[in-house]
């Protein structure tokens, strides 16, 4: 959405006083503990309930019992949830800083539309039917749209509004294409209606290994951008005055966000709201410093994603509700609450 910056984000990232830093560090440790708990829950809870002892046995003394097999299955799903969640949170943080828009998310730049259009093309025109086959198409689709948005947005002269407008425009055209293919090709509709909601249930070791290198590179790149993006968030002129290389920072941010979100979407389908909401919530207690926002977002996003996944397995037993649906149903109300709470909301 074309919503311009809010004043709170322009505020300078003042060095935190020592006691605040301690509080933040402790908070980070607590977040890690919560994440571990959710991860264990994600392995233990499902159509078949496992005790913590069974989970432990399956993880560290695998002897091929039925419970151990269940643990193996759920482990892949949990690991993918951890990785994809962290990637979505990080790419959201980067995009919000890059576009100076607290509501930016990967959908805004057309990455989801690109991935979806590529997957529907793969199904309809190349006859790809395996989920592992989709991964590369989805990733290439997201990457191609990322590059196109960057180019149309003016590459070196890209501004937040131009990038958002280019992303919205490309999304619109691609969704038109997507719907046309789904109407004309029954096979595409049969598969796409499950892919587009976003799910972790198809996770396998193979998927994880396919996307892992991209996630690793993207994460390192994103973390390295924290400091320059802090400067960019203060406005172009201030950033220049502070010696930040605007063009290089923008190009690298776009690259990092595309790689992270593209890989996550390739593995799980388009999952909305995690990348939008978590950095937004995190910012409300860390302040605008990306060096704190990023680690918090990378830890709390998987908490939301895995928590939603567990919830989706529980609410409609023995069937399950896809994680992308749960994140939106939880995320929507939280988002509205945040919007209502904000004091000054000027366009």
């Amino acid at each position: 959405m074309l919503v311009d910056s809010v004043p709170e984000q322009r505020a300078e990232a003042a060095p935190a006083p020592p006691n605040r830093r301690v509080v933040r560090s402790v908070g980070l440790l607590v977040s890690v503990a919560v994440l571990l708990l959710v991860a264990v829950a994600s392995v233990a809870i499902g159509a078949k309930e496992l005790s913590v002892a069974q989970v432990w046995h399956g993880l560290f003394a695998d002897s091929g019992t039925y419970a151990d097999v269940v643990v193996d299955e759920r482990l892949a799903r949990t690991v993918l949830g951890l990785l994809a969640g962290a990637a979505l949170g990080l790419s959201g943080s980067v995009l919000q800083a890059l576009t100076r828009n607290p509501l930016a998310d990967p959908g805004l730049l057309g990455l989801n539309a690109g991935a979806s259009a590529a997957v529907v093309t793969a199904i309809s025109f190349f006859g790809v039917t395996s989920l592992n086959g989709y991964v590369w198409f989805a990733f290439l689709g997201a990457a191609a749209v990322g590059a196109l948005v960057w180019f149309l947005g003016g590459s070196r002269g890209a501004t937040p509004v131009r990038l958002a407008l280019a992303g919205t425009a490309i999304s619109a055209a691609l969704y038109g294409y997507l719907q046309a293919v789904m109407i004309l090709d029954d096979a595409a509709l049969a598969r796409m209606r499950f892919w587009t909601v976003g799910s972790l249930s198809s996770a396998s070791d193979e998927t994880i290994w396919q996307v892992l290198p991209f996630l690793a590179v993207g994460t390192l790149l994103a973390l390295g951008l924290a400091r320059p993006l802090n400067a960019v968030a203060m406005g172009d002129d201030t950033a220049k005055a502070l010696g930040a290389d605007l063009n290089r920072t923008r190009a690298l941010s776009m690259l990092a966000a595309t790689v992270l979100c593209g890989a996550a979407t390739a593995a799980c389908g388009p999952i909305v709201f995690v990348g939008l909401m978590v950095p937004h919530v995190v910012r409300s207690f860390t302040g605008p410093d990306l060096r704190w926002i990023m680690p918090y977002a990378a830890i709390l996003s998987p908490v939301l994603l895995l928590g939603s996944d567990v919830l989706g397995r529980v609410v409609a037993r023995p069937s399950e509700v896809q994680v992308g649906i749960i994140t939106a149903i939880i995320g929507g109300p939280v988002f509205i609450f945040l919007v209502r709470r904000r004091r000054t909301a000027q366009l």
């Binding site: 425009a169 619109a172 789904m182 909601v197 929507g332 509205i336 909301a345 000027q346």
Partner: protein, 348 residues
Amino acid sequence: MAPRGGVRALRGPGGASVRLDVRALVVVVLLMAAAFAASVVLIGTGDFPISSGDVVRTLFGEGTAGQEFIVNELRLPRVLVGLLVGASLGLGGALFQAVSRNPLGSPDVLGLGQGATAGALVMIVLFSGSAAQVTIGALVGGLVTGALIYLLAWKQGVHGYRLVLVGIGVSAVATAVNGYLLTKADFVDAARAVVWMTGTLDGRDWNQVWPLLWLCLLLVPLVLANARGLRMMEMGDDVSHALGVPVERVRMLLLVSAVLLTAAATAAAGPVSFVALTAPQLARRLTRSPGPNLVPSLFMGAALLVTADWAAQRLFGDGQLPVGVVTGVLGGVYLLWLLVTERKAGRI
């Protein structure tokens, strides 16, 4: 305010005067002509082509019996639904954009389309409902969503910015519900749902024309009567309050009208994307007039939708792809054009 070229004031006896924007008037007349021409061509298009001359003759009651049947019973209602839906979406979009003071504040973005879709999908997927039931479901879904967005955005008045953001949140939840319903549907229902979700005029008859026509006849004069207040409100709440506009009352009235128009249009044809977004913007560029451009947007919407339906039939063959595909792609092209021209002009 400095006088602008093309704006005339007609002065009558006793000091009465009417402000007349010549350019806007010309644009409205041209758009009406375009909508009429596109309608005539669209009526003539199909498995049994009829020349434009014959279409016009038949419309005035001078055609053969066969032509009378095809035009009046089969194709005219479809075109009328298209015109009315386009007009409602154009006017509704202009109202939303003016009230939210955001060029992206269209019903697509605010989630009205998604809410109406949720209502329709419940009918299609859970009840395998008839066309009439789907229409009612969509209408209820759209109205409930509109009320929900208004209530959730209310906090000592409805601020345009908050309205857009709350709309985005509601829209995301509705999208998730729609995705879930689609995964739960059996295949035939899913195929029907996807066509409905894209927006289509296929199979529309007189039953859809009348309710839409009455609603437009009721709401359009009401909206235009309050347009003066809307013009003031574009300057901000405080200024318009000082100028004597009852801001919250006018805003509520116009929003309710916009929701009704959009929900009725969506119920009749599905959530046809981008007409509500682009019609007001294109109208504004043609009239070069600031302000909400309500009447030009209305006719622009009608002309756009009928032209897009004709293009869908000509490009893909009869009954192959619905009009929503064309408006979606057109919307994307329009935004790209906007991007390029605004960049050249150095505005963004």
